[in-house]
Symmetry: C2
Subunit: 230 residues, 2 copies
DNA sequence: CGGTATCCGCAAAGATACTG
DNA sequence: CAGTATCTTTGCGGATACCG
């Protein structure tokens, strides 16, 4: 069947204002969360769907189509033998990172303690790590980690006071850390000590075990408790 | 009549993620534009309504109530003889400025040329000026302006490489600039030269006429034309 | 002036079934 | 796996009426 029903008028604020224009483009429900997940690297449709519980497949498809029309992301078919199609941010899309991190820094104080039914996203944590990374506190540390969370594999590199992360295409790293997402969460928020995690087997480390301590220091997030009183 | 119909459950993303939490609080339609307008100072209900064409009075009232519950703003009744009630951001609300400006910096590139039916907001421009202000380019300039746009009066001060703006409570300033909002827009985007504006009477200056030139240099915004090719 | 209440039409979001 | 199609529900837009 032919494609029908193009943009019925896409609700706009109709203001000649940069903020309003920004909201016209990325202010709809789910849009910035899709961008958040793509900021950690290209994703397949089903992975986006899995990382955004509640979105509904039709809405995800609609958002992806809009974002592609706006040149914020592009669809790409991977070369054989993979052959799968992935969505990846363009440079324009990547330039949304300051918006997403500003919102994250503001929203962080409302995290509180996690309620049972709240979803944990590995992508969100990797992005938070990138945002939390402070070169001044780390000096000239150089570390490379492969972080495995479920079936996601992130390559994380710290060098010259800078930090890069990306999913997939794993290459050689000094250390490999494998844990589940709730362990990563507890670890970064200071609710679980590295030693504890190691002895209880919640984390598997290949390579230097002390590297886990450094990992936590590099990417520590403010704990919810600290924020409640602030 | 008694107050009824409290929060039917305010749609949440149900993710333990700072970005998602931020969107839960300020991600609804109109919310960030209300914050934008309040970032330039406390406002009365009718001024908010006038600055957000299309919002509809019931929705504005609902948003203000939500934002007050979240401690992002507070209602305040001005002391007599004014007696009017105003809405003003709390410190928490003011801390949203980086979010709004990050979005503005990103959205600015899509401004293009203004279409006839697009609204111009004085609050948005004053906020844009604050965001565009770069201390490095201005050195140790010290200037104070009273900017009059329609019935809004802004007090704008530059000193020590810092810039402050606020609406109302006007005090003594070196210069008074009076113009309409479309003139301010054209001026800041470099589409209208200060000289031109003065000779055609689109701007009234009290005080030093050359101050207008400095004003434009201090707060110049990238023009839409520059951005189209970037 | 500073709102609240209500009603209506429509667009966006949610849920689920289904197909190439 | 990568989406469409379809149906239901909720939220928004716009108008207007009303009240302290």
């Amino acid at each position: 069947m032919a494609r029908q029903r193009e943009r019925p008028t896409a609700r706009s604020y109709r203001q000649y204002c940069a903020v309003a224009r920004g909201l016209d483009l990325v202010g709809q429900r789910w849009t910035l969360l899709i961008v958040r997940d793509l900021l950690t690297g290209p994703k397949r449709y089903k992975d986006l769907l899995a990382g955004l519980p509640g979105i509904g497949t039709n809405l995800l498809a609609a958002r992806l189509r809009e974002l592609e029309e706006q040149r914020i992301l592009k669809r790409r078919v991977l070369p054989p033998p993979a052959g799968s199609t992935v969505y990846e941010l363009t440079d324009l899309g990547k330039s949304l990172e300051p918006v997403v991190t500003a919102l994250g820094r503001w929203g962080h104080r409302f995290l509180g303690t996690r309620s049972e039914d709240e979803f944990l996203s590995a992508n969100a944590y990797v992005l938070a790590m990138r945002a939390a990374f402070r070169s001044d506190a780390t000096g000239t540390a150089t570390e490379t980690y492969e972080l495995r969370i479920g079936d996601q594999v992130f390559d994380i590199r710290v060098a010259d006071g800078r930090c890069s992360t990306r999913e997939g295409q794993p290459s050689v790293t000094d250390h490999v850390l494998k844990m589940d997402i709730s362990t990563l969460s507890a670890l970064l928020h200071g609710q679980l000590l590295p030693k504890e995690a190691l002895t209880t087997g919640r984390i598997e480390v290949e390579g230097d075990a002390a590297a886990l301590e450094r990992f936590v220091k590099l990417f520590a997030l403010p704990s919810p408790e600290q924020l409640l009183m602030a």
